[in-house]
Subunit: 133 residues, 4 copies
Amino acid sequence: MSKARDFSLRDKFATYNSMEVVEVAQGFARARLDVKPQHHNGLGTVHGGVLFTLADLAFAAASNFGEDTVVGINASMSFFKAASQGVLLAEAREVTRSAKLVAYEAKVTNDSGDIIAVFQGTGYIKSNSRVQK
Amino acid sequence: MSKARDFSLRDKFATYNSMEVVEVAQGFARARLDVKPQHHNGLGTVHGGVLFTLADLAFAAASNFGEDTVVGINASMSFFKAASQGVLLAEAREVTRSAKLVAYEAKVTNDSGDIIAVFQGTGYIKSNSRVQK
Amino acid sequence: MSKARDFSLRDKFATYNSMEVVEVAQGFARARLDVKPQHHNGLGTVHGGVLFTLADLAFAAASNFGEDTVVGINASMSFFKAASQGVLLAEAREVTRSAKLVAYEAKVTNDSGDIIAVFQGTGYIKSNSRVQK
Amino acid sequence: MSKARDFSLRDKFATYNSMEVVEVAQGFARARLDVKPQHHNGLGTVHGGVLFTLADLAFAAASNFGEDTVVGINASMSFFKAASQGVLLAEAREVTRSAKLVAYEAKVTNDSGDIIAVFQGTGYIKSNSRVQK
């Protein structure tokens, strides 16, 4: 089983909401969602919580790719364009990593390549050995 | 039907994930979630996307309570304590409102009253008349 | 010398820019600035960096009041209203504190009590003993 | 006079604190600071307000480069590494731009190229014609 698929399956909330990690590497991951009616808010567009979760899923997959366990401590998201259908992709990239902290940026795009939302996440590195995990 | 229940039902993503608005008034709302396994991330704790969605639901309910249509443009969330079961509540309160923008703060607490996460949302007021809506 | 004055004097950047802590207690601090032309941006209003620094000063004073050394790891600020003269106050209040992290909210107001900006800061507790400091 | 120098001079707060825009183009700007004792906080490292101001200066220069007047409505900053001396650079790049909003990311680096802080700014486009300005 691929690392991306493995990560997706462990994440119950992402799975329950039809989100999956489609690519993952050290410091990078891409997550994907095929928008369905249950992803909408009361205005008929994709819920901010969906966009956040998709970006956070990519952030978690990328930042936990290696031996470290990284937990999110803060995230900021800006919403630029409403989406209502089609495929959404979130791509997370590592901006920097220190002994204790990592910073990631993730962009959520629609199938025309328009940027729907931008996410900035900060994670705390809890452990960096196999034994502790 | 109460305004809170009405708002909850229109929000498909919240409904699909068992979240509901239990109280709403001008500038205030409370949303509730009874944690189930599908709300967990890969580490077995409540997913950041769940906490974000619950806070965002309370923010949306409170900021759209009156005649205005408010759309979120930015949100920042800090995660303090892991939760894995029980009831989670998100309470959103208006911090300030200008002609175009609103600021909200929402706190997510567990059933012991511990703060699990803190959310700060900024919304853009798109219209303020019935006609435009 | 008062704790508030003591804290202000140690902070060279705040002092250089005429900001001072006027009240400090466990989990709370108030910082003050009398706006002068050097606090303006290119549009003739108070610079976002001034509002951020004033809020951050109050956050730092409050979160470092006790024995702990707290360093800011993330801050988010929303700007609501332009200010150009008069007195600005920033009041920081602790939202929550865990073993490693603190969350603060600070509001910057003008002398009419209008909210100019809202700040949310997350800090990391580096040490909690006299010896380490 | 260059556009970069022109922008720097109009910004009184940046000038008063020895910061300058050294390069500016559509969607990009670089600001520079030679750290001096007055830029320090109470711990003897560069103040978070200095890092924020430097990033915000680059954001403002880049986002106001064309005919639009852009005002910051929200900014989030994560602090990764302490700096205490030398030259700091902030480079701001446009992430996306819609009819009303712009998103920028800015990185602050020291003279070894280490990332000191990461800034994410959201701006509101107030006008887009010469006449309105």
